[in-house]
């Protein structure tokens, strides 16, 4: 891939600073994630669901959009994605504990049900794939505003696309089909990234669909479909950037399938030994997207080993601080359960 021309590879234009930022988000997500597992083992929190292994596809995707401006409907595994959009380890930690002032829902939702208006991250629920047709609706609104002359199509301070993510298993839902169909029919500025980690909890992809690639399904909607190595952050960035350009310039929707693997059980409630062999997991651990990006950064002299170590130390201290903050934050008042049922003003 290194040999391809820079034209075909937008990532070749990324400056060293940006590459370091991308690495930093992947690392920070990983360290936060690892700490969550520790907290769970310590019995301090009840639940965690992990992004470990998925960081490259999430960060590669996030860096291709106008972060904080474009609409994003993530799914529960998108910790690195939302961190790239501005959610902090401290915010996430508070959500793990369900403490007062929790950023996404005031502690009403389980952790990893992301949502953060300041970064234009739409609040998510648990039922999978519901976010897909909603994201199509957001994309529809973008196009509507442009057609009505309410905004300028090139105004980068306004949302110009809607991005949504989900797992490969979740494409079995009718919700996914209907959302993709709108995106195709209306040529919407819409990107759907499927993070294909081969399993939906325990259900392997062969029991989920009879196609080799989820991206093959793009053909059913008249949208562009593309498969990418989801553990290669720059490869993801490249296809993501092309999809973003397509969206920004009226070229319609893209279905990106990022092939990846989760390095942990489905969630802290799961025991993946019942359905994944240890050999398989070990094989994928060798393809860890963070190690891979480290190697790239070292080989291309973008970061030194010392810088990597330093980043690690910084990440650790941020996570430590985040945990301390979360632990010392009080719980919300019980009656807080009664608030915010109906909006009052339009």
């Amino acid at each position: 891939m290194q040999k391809e021309s820079a034209v075909a590879r937008p990532s070749a234009h990324l400056d060293a600073d940006t590459l370091r930022q991308m690495y930093w988000i992947m690392l920070l997500s990983r360290r936060t994630d690892e700490r969550a597992w520790v907290l769970h083992r310590q019995g301090k929190i009840a639940f965690h669901i992990s992004a470990m292994g998925h960081e490259a596809c999430q960060v590669g995707m996030a860096f291709a959009i106008q972060r904080g401006v474009d609409y994003v409907n993530p799914y529960y595994r998108d910790l690195a994605l939302v961190m790239a959009l501005g959610v902090t380890p401290a915010q996430f930690m508070v959500s793990l504990f369900g403490k007062v002032g929790e950023y996404s829902s005031g502690g009403r939702q389980m952790p990893s049900h992301f949502g953060y208006r300041p970064a234009n991250i739409i609040s998510g629920s648990a039922p999978v794939a519901t976010q897909v047709p909603q994201a199509a609706g957001l994309a529809f609104a973008i196009k509507y505003r442009q057609q009505m002359g309410l905004v300028d199509a090139n105004d980068a301070t306004q949302p110009r696309l809607a991005l949504t993510c989900l797992g490969e298993g979740s494409t079995s839902q009718g919700e996914w089909h209907e959302g993709m169909n709108w995106a195709g029919v209306h040529k919407l500025p819409f990107i759907c990234m499927v993070q294909n980690n081969e399993y939906a909890i325990s259900v392997p992809i062969e029991a989920q669909m009879a196609v080799s690639n989820v991206a093959d399904r793009a053909a059913a909607y008249g949208v562009t479909g593309v498969v990418v190595d989801g553990n290669d952050v720059l490869a993801v960035y490249d296809v993501a950037k092309a999809a973003v350009e397509r969206a920004y310039t009226g070229g319609g929707a893209t279905l990106i399938e990022a092939k990846t693997y989760r390095l942990t059980p489905h969630s802290s409630d799961d025991d993946d030994r019942t359905y994944r062999s240890r050999e398989e997991v070990e094989t994928w651990k060798k393809k860890d997207p963070i190690l891979r990006f480290q190697n790239y950064l070292l080989e291309n002299s973008i970061m030194t080993q010392a810088e990597l170590d330093d980043a690690d130390a910084r990440a650790k201290s941020i996570v430590d601080a985040a945990q301390a903050e979360a632990e010392s934050t009080p719980y919300p008042a019980p009656e807080f359960a009664l608030g915010a049922v109906y909006a009052e003003e339009n």
Binding site: R108, T130, Y342
Partner: protein, 328 residues
């Protein structure tokens, strides 16, 4: 004031809201050139064009979900579900998504969405073009559920629904689309979502109803007033969720007897909630058992005419139930 039909009032409300706010748009099956299968959107495609009056694919969950997404992006969608019977594919989007968005985001995200749908039987529609689905949604906090029974209310409530920052389900009694006529001012006005309407003052008993049955209730009340000298108070609930408890209780305090009427089948219908409120907060005012006159507990309104008529409450059946209760 001009006298118009229920469906004209609905169309005018949409027309006015489209004109008022460029964020308002309509989507649903056949709402464009066809003007809707009941003609509720007739002329709006011609007037506002394909950007604002959008024929959707044949897929209800996406109609609602697109509406949710657009509402999150601060548009004001009016989604039409062609028949209430076809709202069920969208149940997940309505119940898990639209209703819970505000709460689950601690008010960060809101869904100012209107879902309009014709409901009810008596029009030869059989099991799948006659359903009354309101009770499924009155159990869902975060939603508002509105059912008008007069053209005046239909226009005023629909305009309020479009301006409401919450998801509003707006069910329209299709049998009354052309049968129900009434005065409607040409000027701008709204009717607030929330308060019930005392459709007829009375002192002997209270009849609680909404939609087509509220219309029938007034007819039945006139009939028993004329024929039997029974003075029935008719409360048209109009907004089912949130429920106007005050109106219910102040009427029962006066009359002491309650008859609840709806077309939907009895068990776990909306009438049960009214009865439950009466059995608790209204207990001391009650002079008689709380009666419900509802569709029978069968899976739907049958097509064949005699069976359909057997199923449906109507002014005569309501009048008979009033007499029974008054005689109690």
């Amino acid at each position: 004031m001009p006298i118009i039909t229920l469906i004209e009032a609905i169309r005018i409300a949409m027309d006015e809201e489209l004109a008022r706010d460029p964020r308002v748009f309509i989507t649903g099956e056949d709402v464009g050139k066809r003007g809707g299968v009941f003609r509720a959107t007739q002329g709006l495609f011609e007037k506002y064009g394909p950007t604002r009056v959008v024929d959707s694919p044949l897929a209800e969950l996406s109609i609602v979900a697109i509406g949710i997404g657009a509402a999150l992006a601060d548009l004001r969608p009016i989604c039409e579900i062609q028949f209430a019977d076809f709202i069920h594919p969208a149940f997940n989007q309505i119940v898990n998504e639209a209703a819970k968005m505000y709460y689950r985001s601690e008010g960060q995200w809101r869904v100012p969405l209107v879902i309009r749908s014709p409901y009810g039987g008596g029009i030869g529609g059989g099991l799948f073009h006659s359903q009354s689905v309101e009770a499924f949604f009155t159990h869902v906090p975060g939603l508002k559920v509105v059912i008008p029974s007069t053209p005046y209310d239909a226009k005023g409530l629909l305009k309020s629904a479009v301006r409401d920052p919450n998801p509003v389900l707006f069910f329209e009694p299709k049998k009354g689309y052309r049968a129900i006529k009434g005065e409607v001012p040409s000027d701008e006005y709204t009717v607030p979502i929330g308060p019930a309407r005392v459709a007829r003052q009375g002192k002997d008993l209270t009849l609680f109803a909404y939609g087509m049955m509220a219309y029938y209730a007034e007819l039945a009340a006139e009939q028993v007033a004329r024929q039997d000298g029974i003075d029935t108070e008719v409360i048209d609930l109009r907004t089912l969720l949130p429920l106007d408890k005050t109106a219910i209780l102040s009427s029962i305090q006066k009359t002491g007897k309650a008859l609840i009427v709806h077309e939907a089948n009895l068990t776990s219908g909306y009438g049960a909630e009214i009865a439950a409120v009466l059995a608790d907060d209204g207990f001391h005012y009650l002079d008689a058992p709380v009666k419900r006159l509802c569709g029978p507990d069968v899976p739907g309104v049958p097509f064949s005419h005699p069976m359909q008529e057997f199923f449906m409450p109507n002014p005569d059946k309501i009048a008979a139930a009033i007499r029974d209760l008054a005689a109690y």
